[in-house]
Amino acid sequence: MVSHAKNAEKFTKDLEKVDWHDATLWGARSKRDLAAKSIPEWESLRTLASQIKENVLANLDEYLLEFEKNALLNGAEVFWAKDGEEHNKIVGDLLVKHNINNLVKSKSILTEECHLNQYLEDLGYDVVDTDLGERIIQFAKQPPSHIVTPAIHVKKEEIGELFHQYIGTEKGATDPQYLTEAARGHLREKFLNAEAAITGVNFAIAENGGFVVCTNEGNADMGANLAPIQIACMGIEKLIPKAEHLGVFLRLLARSATGQSITNYTSHFFTPKKNGKLYIVMVDNGRTEQLGREDFRNSLKCIRCGACMNTCPVYRKSGGYSYGYTIPGPIGSVLAPGRDDHEYASLPFASSLCGSCTNVCPVKIDLHDQLYKWRQQIVKNGNVDQSKKWSMQMATYIFEHPKLFRFMGKTARLFMRLSPRFLIYNSLNKWGKSRELPDSPKQSFRDWYINHKIR
């Protein structure tokens, strides 16, 4: 069972790193604010995007079939995978079938969700992630800590060390320009030798069977255009009905993610290349189940921009790994319990319910309301400590009995006024670990009111 609070406590111990992590992501949030405010119609764009996705979710079965039909007409081959295991097997079998030795992969959170890399490595493949951030964490043997900037938690000194070890840069080098150029040279060779390229999908268009991949580094294009075989992996919620809807989503995606007006590369794929193959793998992996949960189906509108992570003060101060799930932050905390509400029971509580996530979400997912609803669900399903249950039971009983409430209040205040400090500030008092308790007045407001206004 993941304990976000415990993991977060560890992360907060390195204050310098927390502050740096917080400031870096706040920077992304600030750029997002500027970008959002540079478009007068921003809020109506969000509404529109949310409505388009609403329509997609309501008619998902039809759009999926329409997309498949058109993709087949374009010459692609389409696979359906009910879960991560099936997805991995499909991809692995394709690589075996085509005798692939060298493959490159661009960023796909779906493949992280399915743990594709591990599966392929177990089959003996050297999976080369070509997104710079992904390559860094691959060297570090870590999962992504953020869905858009997967290595956001790694400092340049650590990157210098990894690159020295894996691609032979000079020891101690930390200059970003130097390190990036080294990575570029290293990846260029991988691209040129690749026989297959695995990409993700940002948007799949039902009406024409094409799909769009957005990157800032151009690595998806480089891979897909050089290798004869492309395998595109997508969650079934990635659909949009028409090409014209891209005009809504592309304007929202990059602005929300990084504050750019558009990603550097927005690549449209339709057909296999000459003498090549284009495979599309559509994955469910729990999405249909989430679609069936009325309170949580909205979470499937997510376009994976990461804005909710950048704005979330809990995420910024606890780091992506504290969530213990592929997708961290507010959206991850809404999706994870849908997969396993026992394992991830702590995630919906890893929020102060400040609501900032809901306000930045480009498709208007009611994230903080869903976190609140998951809390109710988790308690209902019994995934809650006995001690918490008892304390809530007791508090409710006291509040239901006004006389008892007043007696308890008075007694507690008296105790707090008269007790020596060690009786109040000890290991049982978590509040008091780093905070003082409020002063305890002799009179409650009610006492004062009776004395001054009634007598």
């Binding site: 976000h4 609070a5 977060a8 406590e9 907060t12 927390v18 604010d33 959002a36 405010k37 007068p40 921003w42 809020e43 704005t311 003060p313 809990v314 101060k317 606890s318 509580f349 890893a350 929020s351 102060s352 319910l353 400040c354 609501g355 900032s356 809901t358 306000n359 930045v360 609140y372 809390r375 109710q376 988790i378 308690v379 809650v384 918490k388 809530m392 508090a395 409710t396 006291i398 509040f399 239901e400 006004p402 409430f405 209040g409 507690a412 978590k430 509040w431 670990k433 780093s434 905070r435 003082e436 409020p438 007045p441 407001f445 009610r446 006492d447 004062w448 009111y449 009776i450 206004k453």
Partner: protein, 243 residues
Amino acid sequence: MKIGLFIPCYVDQFYPQVGIATLQLLEKLGLEVNYPLNQTCCGQPMANSGFEYKGENLIKMFEENFQKYQYVIGPSGSCVMHLKEQLSHVKSHLADGVFEICEFLTDILNVKELPSEFPYRVGVHSSCHGLRGLRLATPSELNENPSDKPGTLLKMIKGIQLVDLNRKDECCGFGGTFAVSEEAVSVKMGTDRIRDHELNGAEVITGTDMSCLMHLDGLLKRQKKNIRVMHITEILNGNNEVK
């Protein structure tokens, strides 16, 4: 206009001066205000912990306590937001009658001036439920015409200097039981908010929710900082003694 005064349980017990300031402020504005004596808690602590169903009786008690009032006013954005939601779930007529004090002053009473004075540098902590839940001001994430109800009221106070913050509406990390269940993150969030106020020269931190201020005050006192917290009603009511 019959006004019922709702005082959150922890304000009643630990911050009577905030209840008093709220009452006096409303009375100064010529209103007849009553405090029903059997009120306790709105049920929010349980609800945010996943035990919303345990609050059913508390909402019934709230309805009984306040049924004869046209308006119910409380000095807390968070409790008021919770009440509005729960009362509308049970289709109570009170759902539209419950107001946080600042929104009541600006939206219902249309207050244009206040006679108080407060010669200090003040940082406003925008508590999330009031801000994003009740829309007491425009949250910084949204591209909307800016409004700011607490700010509008504070600007009526003579001598007050409102300081600009680097992050004007970031959460302080109180979050109810979150403050204890996620102690480390909560403390870090609060410490960072304080730093922002400190860097910008605030002598007093004010806000619409004493709960956030209790958390910040706990940190300020432990860290021996020379910044004080005061609820917005204390400033609006003219309490200009900074303790």
